[in-house]
């Protein structure tokens, strides 16, 4: 394992120290327990947006803390959901009187830890609502399982709800908006290479020089199936078709299309994927009204890509275009 780290135990702490030094103009980092808030937290009268999850997905979530997006993010250990005390302290720190909205990716651990934090916050008389993301179509949905994973849609969710919160939406309105985004966004991902969790020191799975994993999540877990290496166009099709078929997205609809890198994939390849994804969307009669291309929700140094499509009416596009000022996403300000 070759990584730019000092020791597996200190990865998260030292990265947070770097973040604190790099983004002191916009963010405040708490080290006991770990969480990041925007510098001016709490925003009086505004619903506080709280998210978090395992580390190793940078820039998500810490890179999305700032005006127009998240009020706070709680980083867990690498690929391990954070603990309730982190969300509890962060929640209190960003509570401006209008309640706290938790944005939680649908993983058993994340859900249970955020639930416990919500209980604790309510005991402090802070109103809490929770929005889940479970957009990964690679996982068969079922009442009898943990359900689908929350992946790329989380980025779009945090941007759009962040804008809505700035505009003064109430906790109930944000919860409703979040649920509708959850219902109309879908994603799927693949990996060319595995990634190595620092404390494990070896790749989470082995892939042959000619194999790829399709239907992976964001925790270095194996995917739904392993297939021979294919061309960028074929791979993009393998991701786009299930995404479009699942909702399904219908001819004439407008979408935000997000092509994400898993951490070790260069931008030049993501544009080749976006090219094909856009062609496929067009073939399906979809209008790409906005797009995002880059590595925003990653799995350490894994090489691969994920694609997310979200139905977008004018109101949603307006929220997407609204000013945002975070280390990872910034425009309009």
């Amino acid at each position: 394992m070759k990584k730019l780290i000092n020791s597996p135990e200190n990865v998260v702490r030292e990265a947070l120290e770097g973040i604190a030094l790099a983004h002191a103009d916009r963010q405040r980092v708490c080290f006991d327990p770990f969480y990041i808030t925007r510098k001016d937290a709490p925003a009086k009268g505004k619903v506080g947006l709280l998210s978090g999850g395992g580390s190793g997905h940078e820039p998500m979530h810490g890179g999305f803390v700032g005006f127009g997006m998240l009020d706070a993010a709680c980083p867990g250990h690498v690929f391990t959901s954070p603990t309730p005390d982190q969300m509890f302290e962060a929640g209190k720190a960003i509570s401006g009187g209008a309640g706290v909205l938790q944005i939680v990716k649908n993983y058993t651990g994340d859900v249970m830890n955020f639930d416990l934090a919500a209980e604790m916050l309510r005991e402090e008389a802070i109103e809490v609502a929770t929005v889940l993301t479970d957009d990964d179509v690679a996982v068969q949905d079922s009442l009898y399982t943990a359900g689908r994973r929350g992946v790329g849609l989380t980025v779009l969710m945090e941007k759009i709800l962040g804008a809505a919160a700035e505009k003064g939406m109430t906790l109930a309105q944000l919860k409703a908006l979040g649920d509708s985004i959850r219902a109309t966004g879908r994603s799927m991902g693949m990996a060319l290479t595995p990634c190595t969790v620092p404390h494990l020191g070896k790749p989470s799975f082995a892939l042959g020089e000619n194999e790829i994993e399709v239907g992976i999540g964001i925790h270095g877990e194996p995917g739904r199936k392993r297939i021979p290496m294919a061309s960028a166009d074929e791979i993009t099709e393998m991701l786009m078709e299930p995404i479009l078929a699942d909702l399904p997205f219908k001819t004439g609809e407008s979408i935000i299309l997000f092509v994400n890198g898993m951490g070790g994939t260069p931008l030049i390849e993501l544009y080749i994927v976006f090219r094909k994804a856009a062609q496929i969307a067009e073939k399906h009669g979809l209008k790409i009204v906005r797009n995002l291309v880059g590595s925003y929700i990653t799995s350490l140094e894994m090489a691969g890509t994920s694609i997310t499509a979200l139905r977008a009416d004018d109101a949603l596009v307006g929220l997407w275009d609204a000013p945002v000022n975070t280390p990872a996403l910034r425009w309009g300000v």
């Binding site: 993983y107 249970m112 270095g220 877990e221 739904r224």
Partner: protein
């Protein structure tokens, strides 16, 4: 042996911590195969913190206070799915044993049964879903029919859990991360079932001294 003392419960926790620390890599490997490879690290981090906490004097002379300290510490250090599940498990043990200084076989069985119920409530997992429940449930069942001698009762629990943990391999995961793999989860043991088996093995160890 008819009663477990507070001191022995403390020794159980330390023994469990040592056991998990020894098997940490094994638990991580199991988790890497069908999850995200952190279960061993999470449990080791948690129980190391617990032991530190208890050595720091936490727990006092009340089983309820002791178990609560264990639960709270696990809750804030383990993370992932195992954190709330094991944390809640020990918090439940705390609730049920508040005021007590000792446990006989019947009390211990009832206590673990209550903890198991809390895990099932929180995780909504049924027997056969390929989770820690698959190790804990048979263990508690075995205890109920193993008589009043704690040495026998805890040994029965440990053996039942060990066997059941191994037998999670052929199961198709329906809960937790492994469920994302669908058919590909078959053929691998569940990490949490194994960590549960380790906890009970440590308990049996204490009761056989």
């Amino acid at each position: 042996m008819d009663v477990l003392t507070l001191a022995q419960i403390r020794s159980w926790i330390s023994a469990a911590s040592a056991e998990i620390d020894k098997k940490s890599a094994f638990l991580c490997d199991l988790d890497a195969a069908i999850g995200d490879g952190d279960h061993g690290a999470n449990m080791t981090r948690g129980f190391t913190a617990v032991v530190k906490k208890l050595e720091g004097g936490a727990g006092g002379d009340d089983l309820g206070v002791l178990f609560k300290a264990v639960g709270m510490t696990l809750l804030s250090t383990v993370g992932g799915a195992a954190g709330p599940l094991y944390g809640g498990f020990f918090l439940e043990l705390g609730k049920q044993s508040l005021g007590k200084q000792t446990l006989d076989a019947a009390a211990l069985t009832a206590l673990l049964d209550a903890g198991l119920t809390d895990i099932k409530r929180r995780g909504k997992a049924e027997l056969g879903d390929k989770t820690m429940v698959d190790a804990l449930a048979p263990a508690v069942e075995a205890m109920k029919t193993a008589g009043a001698d704690l040495t026998t009762v805890t040994r029965a629990a440990a053996d039942a859990a060990r066997l059941a943990a191994t037998n999670t391999a052929p199961l198709l995961a329906r809960k937790g991360r492994a469920s994302y793999l669908g058919e590909r989860s078959i053929g691998h043991q569940d990490p949490g079932a194994n960590s549960s088996a380790l906890l009970l093995e440590a308990l049996a160890g204490i009761c056989s001294e």
